[in-house]
């Protein structure tokens, strides 16, 4: 934990602003965002829908361009020398999406899904045999049977698909994974195994996570730090434990108060009172 705080950030967002323009109307979705993600840490980005957290995640990974501000990966501004920079960013920062059904080409076999980034970025370095071996290693790293490589996405379960998406994202050995609600489309028991896998992978590889979620219970189990967003700004940021135990912003208090605790005595006091009477 202490190493996170001294090392250079793997991603720095400086003065990020974003305005969507359409039909002569403007909608400002992000303002004055400054954020650092440090090597090996998990920074959670939480907020209600419409708070701007997904747009910020897309900017972090290069899928959207900010209207203002800089995105620096390992200290380099991505907007200078764009083509080389975006190739470099792809190797530094990768993304895992919420819906593992929608984020894979249904006509590609799993081995090709996982190999795609390797073929683009490391073909000359690894060679085709090397890439084949790398795909097998990646599937093993996310605890998947290597036989799955020959299958198509529709032949895999939701949990398997999310593991494949993680393997694909790790293929280029990025220093940061942006995870957009990676478990919210999954069953609870599957969600728990994916969160476990993410923890193990981080321990093994030192990859940092920017973890977008609206679920504070999930966040409390995985994040080192948490940034709470509201109306396109960061309302509060700090150590996870401190933000959740002593929130300083209205939105954090509201999010905490809204949690449906899996504990009837806490979530439904009337029921508990009735039972005790």
């Amino acid at each position: 934990m202490s190493t996170h705080e001294t090392a250079d950030p793997v991603l720095s967002l400086r003065g990020i602003g974003k305005t969507f323009r359409r039909h002569r109307t403007e909608k400002r979705v992000l303002s004055d965002i400054d954020l650092d993600v440090r090597p090996g840490e998990t920074l959670a980005l939480v907020g209600e829908s419409g708070s701007g957290k997904t747009t910020l995640a897309r900017i972090a990974v290069g899928l959207a361009e900010p209207t203002e501000g800089e995105v620096l990966t390992a200290g380099e501004d991505l907007r200078t020398g764009r083509r080389r920079a975006s190739a470099q960013q792809a190797r530094m920062v990768q993304m895992v999406f919420q819906d593992p059904y929608a984020s894979m080409n249904p006509r590609m076999r799993i081995r090709d899904v996982v190999a795609e980034g390797l073929l683009t970025h490391r073909r000359s370095e690894l060679g085709l045999d090397g890439i084949r071996a790398e795909v097998a290693r990646l599937l093993d790293a996310v605890d998947l049977d290597p036989d799955l490589a020959r299958r198509f996405p529709h032949e895999c379960s939701g949990g398997q698909r999310q593991r494949i998406a993680i393997a694909r994202a790790l293929a280029l050995e990025p220093r940061l994974l942006v995870l957009d609600e990676p478990t919210s489309a999954l069953d609870v028991s599957v969600q728990a195994t994916i969160l476990d896998l993410l923890r193990q992978l981080q321990e093994r590889t030192g990859v940092a996570y920017l973890f977008v979620s609206h679920d504070l219970a999930v966040v409390s189990g995985i994040a080192d730090r948490v940034a709470v967003m509201a109306d396109g700004r960061i309302a509060e940021i700090g150590r996870c434990r401190e933000v959740l135990s002593a929130p300083s912003s209205e939105v954090t208090r509201r999010l905490l108060a809204s949690i449906a605790h899996p504990d009837p005595r806490r979530a439904n006091p009337a029921l508990a009172a009735g039972a005790d009477r």
Partner: protein, 270 residues
Amino acid sequence: MTAAPLLEISDLHITFSSRHAEVAAVRGIDLALEPGRTLALVGESGSGKSSTALSVLRLNPEPPATYPHGQVRFEGTDLLSLPAAQLRAVRGRDIAMVFQDPMATLNPLRTVGSQLMEVMRIHRTGDRAERRRRMFEALEQARVPEPSQRADQYPHQLSGGLRQRVMLAMALMSRPRLLIADEPTTALDVTTQAEILDLLRTLQAETGMGVLLITHDLGVVASVADSMAVMHDGVIVEQGSTLDVFERPTDDYTRQLLAATPRLEIGAPA
């Protein structure tokens, strides 16, 4: 409590058959729900919970669905053996349903108000003025702010939370005695979910309707259900009062589900 059950499911089997395969999705389940109570049917994908919920109104497409055994009795009448015309009289009037995704259930081309009044038009209840009055009443019951403006709006003009309130208002139109809610808050964010769960509790207290809640989320169960049944692989592995099942689970699968559910851990991580 000695009230007669509002809904009583006994030895229900649901099979989906195609030319190539037969899948026994629900294999002999028993459930009972009393008026004014909330029963949660909990399970993960593929457990059979949604097929069970849909079977109450015979909404599983037939074919491929068949009901080889069992009964679904609503106030004593077996809905599975009811002729289509009589079943239509029950649907939306005595038993209403809300679904997970309001955007997929609301008609994008019609105003909120006209969709609310549809159920009364279909069941031929009231005249135009009566339907309008009831529409505003239902929107108010569902705590939709500014009902007279909302009635003239289209679904895309509403937020996710408001759309789910509109769905609830629509379900309330004919003062149903049973509400089936299939993952009513899954598509919503945490704060909106809390508001909708609160509204469900309030509506139930006001109307005395029974609620059959389908969900995979044990936090939602803990918030609103009096009793719960855990489904796994087409059978009910455990049922009882919500408090008992949470505090003294007897089945391994229930224990696993409880253990897998994320909880707010303010002490962690180290």
